[in-house]
């Protein structure tokens, strides 16, 4: 599934999950806060509620959200840490792989690549 994300569009439910993750990361939702329901999400994005539910259950499976029966979905205490780890070890790693692959295609040497990253970093720092 996730392999597909390189070029084509990401499945909507993954996008929904990622958006909620971002909302948690930037402090919009804190631990034990209630997040949007599948119906609220369905309305916000004009998508089928079942798709929205799939996005939420993805986050439940990853222990980012927990379910309270009849009350809704809430943010777990470890949510931020889990998201951070996931993005670092998975999303970011893939991004790096992508860069390395493209560098190979363009015959960019390792030293050159490192130099480019360094300069990008210092630009960012300014």
């Amino acid at each position: 599934m996730t392999i597909l994300n390189t070029e084509g569009t990401k499945p909507i439910y993954v996008q929904i999950a990622e958006w909620i993750e971002t909302e948690i990361m930037n402090g919009h939702f804190n631990s034990d806060d209630k997040v949007y329901s599948q119906y609220q999400l369905a309305e916000m994005y004009t998508i089928n509620p079942a798709t929205a539910a799939k996005g939420l259950s993805l986050l439940v499976d990853e222990n980012i959200l927990y379910k309270k029966r009849g009350l809704g979905m809430f943010v777990t205490a470890d949510a931020k840490e889990i998201i951070m780890n996931k993005r670092k070890n998975y999303t970011f790693k893939r991004l790096v792989q992508e860069i390395v692959l493209e560098a190979k295609r363009l015959q960019i040497s390792e030293a050159e690549l490192i130099e480019m990253i360094k300069s990008a970093q210092s630009e960012e720092g300014e």
Binding site: I3, L4, T6, E7, T9, A42, T46, I47, N48, P49
Partner: protein, 300 residues
């Protein structure tokens, strides 16, 4: 709960088979998209479900009974298309009022609001409406009926892009507030894909695929790269579509039964791997002929 069930359903017109051994079931309160090429039998199927026409053979059950001549099915379903006929003597607003006596769940408030939003003239007449306005009015009736089975057969015929967008949103909002079984047939897969929970794809008069939309999105993948390299990767796969770009680049769509690790190594080998949009995939799958429009123009 299954609200629609059919087994070996067939329908012939003048000896020509339109539907052929169709077997599927539809769960209550889902939005299902009915997809297929022109003339594949979508409308026929929908009309059989609504009880408008009789099946030739096989079994069809709607709310556990045969829909043809069933009052129960008629009272609990609505079939919306651009051919809906209304009494020509009644004005548009009177039509809405009349509809309220036909449909027990009729939502007059919603009907009125939509009617005003799309700026219909209460004193207008249905047979004087433009194509797009006809579809819009019929869609309003379909939404406001709140029928337990709501069937839209090409509901957006003639609607402009903005009205189509409004209609989809209205449909979704009303569905969230009043969940019910909805079937939409459409050629605009890209426009409705996010609304759908399930997809029923017809080909050659039968159900070729019936699966959740999210699964359809992952059902196939596209591989692009040098032709000979592509061949290595797809030779034991089910090829859905193949296209040569230039002399030695190929784009091939195959059934996605690759392991993640296999895809990863294909990517590292320099192949471009892409998701295939449901809309494109439906076109590829339902193509009746091998080849494409280009073959028509080949040297004779």
């Amino acid at each position: 709960m299954k609200v629609i069930e059919c087994t070996d359903l067939a329908k012939s017109y003048f000896g020509k088979k339109v539907l052929n051994n169709l077997s599927f079931s539809i769960e209550e309160n889902k939005i299902t998209g009915l997809i297929g090429r022109n003339g594949v039998g979508k409308t026929t199927l929908l009309k059989i479900i609504a009880g408008f026409i009789k099946e030739t053979s096989g079994e069809i059950k709607v709310f556990s009974e045969r829909p043809f001549n069933s009052l129960n099915v008629s009272a609990n379903s609505i079939f919306v298309d651009d051919q809906m006929s209304f009494p020509p003597a009644l004005q548009l607003y009177e039509l809405l009022e009349a509809a309220s006596s036909f449909y027990p769940n009729w939502d007059m408030e919603l009907a009125k609001r939509l009617f005003d939003y799309f700026s219909f003239d209460p004193k207008g007449y249905h047979n004087r409406l433009s194509k797009g306005k006809t579809s819009t009015f019929n869609a309003i009736v379909g939404l406001a009926s709140h029928s337990p089975i709501t069937i839209f057969d090409e509901p957006t015929t003639g609607m402009d892009a903005s009205v189509r967008k409004d209609f989809y949103r209205a449909l979704l909002k009303d569905y969230i507030a009043h969940p019910r079984t909805i079937i939409i047939s459409s050629h605009h897969v890209d426009e409705i894909e996010n609304l759908l929970e399930d997809v029923l794809l017809l080909k050659d008069g039968r159900n070729h695929l019936h699966l959740p939309m999210e699964e359809l999105k992952a059902w196939a993948i596209g591989l692009k790269g040098p032709t000979e390299k592509i061949q290595e990767w797809v030779n034991d796969k089910e090829i859905v579509y193949e296209n040569k770009i230039g002399t030695n680049t190929s784009y091939v769509v195959v059934r996605n039964d690759f392991a993640d690790s296999a895809l990863q190594s294909a990517r590292l080998a320099g192949l471009e791997i892409t998701a295939v949009s449901p809309s494109d995939l439906c076109v590829y799958i339902t193509n009746q002929t091998k080849g494409g429009i280009d073959d028509v123009f080949k040297e004779r």
